[in-house]
């Protein structure tokens, strides 16, 4: 890190080496004063400058910087002589106006260019019902989206800058009086301690401040839906917003939240619970089915029902490889397809996906390189692994399958049980912002189970989750007494 420049003049000289830094001289018609206007061209909105600033600068009478400041219609204008401040503001799109070329003091006027994506629908967490707004890269717009959903004063925003090169604005948002102060403190402290140069995205922050960096399981939830963030802030969580990233981080989280899609809250609770259970089952299926295939075919033929035995044997008869190689071949093919499809432009990617999937699959069955039963299982498992609503967890699920496969190959069913214990122990160790990751399963919080595997109706969720240890556990008053009526009364 270089030492701060000694003066504004040297700062401007250093900046002058870039072609996009301009210093222009203008003359005020009325008073005849010369004005030196410096700015970084890409960051400045020239239209605002030409329309709102220059007319005043060139035609209104003033004799000092103070007058200038009062005349200009721009609110965010102030006089500064701090070189670091001037530099920072120049890069934010401010104009630096001086009366003489060698002046150390000047007026900083905001003329920032804001170019950003228009608000679009969420791509990753798309929902059929419910609002379809999603966060974009600008922190201001994101805060706007959030504030309009919680228009009260308790919504506190704490701003810091992270990254020596990128100076990214990071906002920690929480509801004062509801979120546990320990959680907030942990987040703020960890963010302050980040030492990084170019902070591009919120996922960088996740990887740096996570409790357990080496675990494949994500410990902070990331979302691009403002409604989801608003809902969890109301529960008592803390949100981290990063300028330049459309993904907002939420913590502390638990494992079960990674399997709940926000759409569950828009549907009737019975349907939502059903979908959640299906999701859980499909995850278990996805992780265990191919290892079970390997284990059963290698060691435990007695487990297979007699009617199925014939099918399996005939399907495997001509295949020269042992089951584990078959499975690895197919799993890797699916990974290849997925990676290739992700890299190619949309149209080509879709074709490759379909062609690859169908053609390779059918051809390998016909060439007797794999069995058709296994093809179905692997395809189903791959599909099932994509039912997790959170993208990061989907990746983890796909990864976890491989240790299970290895263990099943070596020790059969016993290996599967062993690997399960290992994964379970690993999950027991995980914490999210210091809170246990496996809550509400362990430590068991019975009240929180209402929103874990099934989702009970809103009327029974009048208390905030215990795991967050919020300051105000009651959300709204629970039941209203209804008058009991007899039949036909």
């Amino acid at each position: 890190m270089t030492a701060p420049p000694e003066s504004v003049w040297t700062a401007l000289q250093t900046l002058g080496s870039s072609m996009d830094f301009q210093t222009k001289v203008y003359r005020n018609e009325t008073s005849g004063l010369l004005l030196w206007v410096s700015y970084v061209e890409p960051m400045v909105e020239m239209e605002t400058v030409v329309r709102s600033i220059f007319p005043y600068l060139f035609h209104c009478p003033f004799s000092s910087l103070e007058d200038m400041r009062q005349i200009l219609p721009i609110d965010d204008a102030y006089i500064s002589s701090d070189p670091a401040d001037v530099k920072a503001k120049l890069f934010e799109g401010y104009l630096f106006i001086r009366l003489h070329e060698t002046d150390e003091t000047g007026l900083l006027v905001k003329a920032q260019k804001t170019l950003e994506r228009t608000l679009t629908i969420p791509e990753v967490e798309f929902s059929v019902v419910g609002p379809k707004e999603s966060f974009i890269e600008s922190l201001e717009t994101n805060l706007y989206l959030l504030r309009k959903r919680i228009p009260i004063d308790r919504l506190t925003v704490k701003l810091t800058r992270v990254g020596t090169l990128s100076k990214t604005k990071v906002a920690v948002v929480y509801l004062d009086g509801i979120a546990n102060p320990d959680n907030v403190q942990t987040v703020l402290q960890r963010i302050k301690q980040i030492e990084f140069d170019e902070m591009i995205d919120s996922s960088y922050i996740v990887q740096i401040i996570s409790d357990n960096r080496h675990s494949p399981f994500p410990q902070l939830l990331d979302t691009e839906r403002p409604d989801r963030v608003a809902a969890v802030l109301a529960e008592g969580k803390v949100a981290i917003m990063v300028d330049g990233s459309p993904h907002v981080l939420i913590g502390p989280t638990t494992l079960v939240e990674f399997f709940s899609s926000f759409e569950d809250y828009f549907l009737n609770w019975t349907i939502a619970s059903f979908f959640r259970l299906i999701r859980l089952f499909s995850v278990a299926f996805s992780i265990l089915i191919t290892p079970m295939y390997v284990a059963t075919l290698n060691y435990h033929y007695e487990l297979i029902p007699k009617d199925l035995l014939g099918t399996l044997i005939t399907s495997r008869r001509e295949i020269p490889f042992p089951p584990i190689l078959e499975v690895l071949f197919l799993e890797l093919t699916i990974e290849l397809l997925r990676e290739a499809g992700a890299r190619l432009p949309t149209k080509v990617g879709q074709t490759i996906g379909i062609v690859g999937g169908i053609v390779i699959g059918t051809a390998s069955v016909e060439a007797s390189l794999t069995s058709n039963v296994l093809l179905i299982l692997v395809a189903l498992a791959a599909l099932a692994s994509f039912t997790t609503p959170v993208y990061k967890m989907g990746n983890t699920i796909r990864l976890i399958r491989f240790p299970f496969l290895l263990f099943a190959e070596v020790w059969g069913l016993l290996g599967v049980a062993f690997c399960f214990c290992m994964v379970m122990t690993h999950l027991l160790y995980l914490t999210s912002l210091g809170r246990p990751f496996l809550a509400p399963l362990y430590p068991p919080r019975w009240r929180d189970l209402k929103d874990a595997f099934i989702r009970l109706p809103f009327t029974s969720q009048s208390k905030r989750p215990e795991t967050l240890r919020t300051e105000q556990p009651i959300r709204f008053s629970g039941k209203k007494v209804r008058k009991k009526r007899d039949i036909d009364e």
Binding site: E302, L414, C421, T425
Partner: protein, 362 residues
Amino acid sequence: MASVAERLQVSPFMTFYIIMSMQIGVGVLGFQRVIAQTAGHDAWISVLLAGASSHLILIVLYWLLQQADGDFLLLHQRLFGRWVGGAFSLWLALYFAAMSFVVLRTYIEVIQVWMFPDLQTWEFSLAFLLLCLYITVGGFRVVVGICFFCLIIPSYLLFTFWFVLDHADFHLLLPILDHPPSAIVKAAGQTTLTMLGYETILLFYPFIKRGAQSAKWAHAALLATTLFYTLLTVLTLAYFSEKQLQRQIWPTLTMWKMVELPFIERFEYVGIANWLLIILPNVCLGLWCSSRICKQLFPIRQKTALLIIAAICFFSTLFVHDRKQVDLINTILNRTGFYFLYIWIPCVAVITYIVKKVRGNV
């Protein structure tokens, strides 16, 4: 001495899971045969008796813990002096280490006989102990998490016994109390091995928040275990004829051979694989208790003690080779546990009571 930081403690409700998962271990697979040999078709009454007596012993244990302010080893020290008390505590550490070792070796034998005859003892022993070390190094909270999950997840196995009902003749249990009471009581003593596990409360009591309130959960666990064992014994006695039962080394596993689910035949393989989850807390908690005693007796860190004890367990498993030796170590553990719980603990209680009367407090 007995106070532990609050962040390391668990809620009293967890006592239920710790004790129940510790009690249900390898003994469940084969205990019915031994007691049926002594008490015939009245063996289920022996199980009930053993369960009832365990409640009494648990009351004594809690009383001792109250007297000792949560630290049982301190009680040994206060009553018997530093060296003799330390010797008794060390013997207790050996006992817990032996418990881990016996459970592990017996399970390996089951795998070797039923599933993988060519599984090398050292392979499984090494891998399993490393997993247990991974768990125990995380501290008591992680161990309790394992106890919790390893009780809840395999609980579905209970439903598998439904399939066995078809072949059960309950009239084989009649007439009740047809055997002499001495036989029934003797068989109750033989069930001790399967009931063992709740003495670990002596070690983990300081880790329970509001320890005194955990008594009801501990008793609930004992009750649940007793009921489970009694029902299992009843089912076994109805399922097998007497002499047939004598020929089965692992009656529970043989019963599982009869279970047939729509997509899994021969359920006993699934059962044995699930059993790994059931014995995991047993071995972990045994290692944890043992190393904790060592930490309090010797100036070593608990991690070091843990490694040493795990290494000892590992090497011990290599020396036990066949059925007879496995039987022997199980019998030794059974007897040791019996003497500890039913003779040593009451003695200590009596001595404490006398000392309290004489000195005023311990």
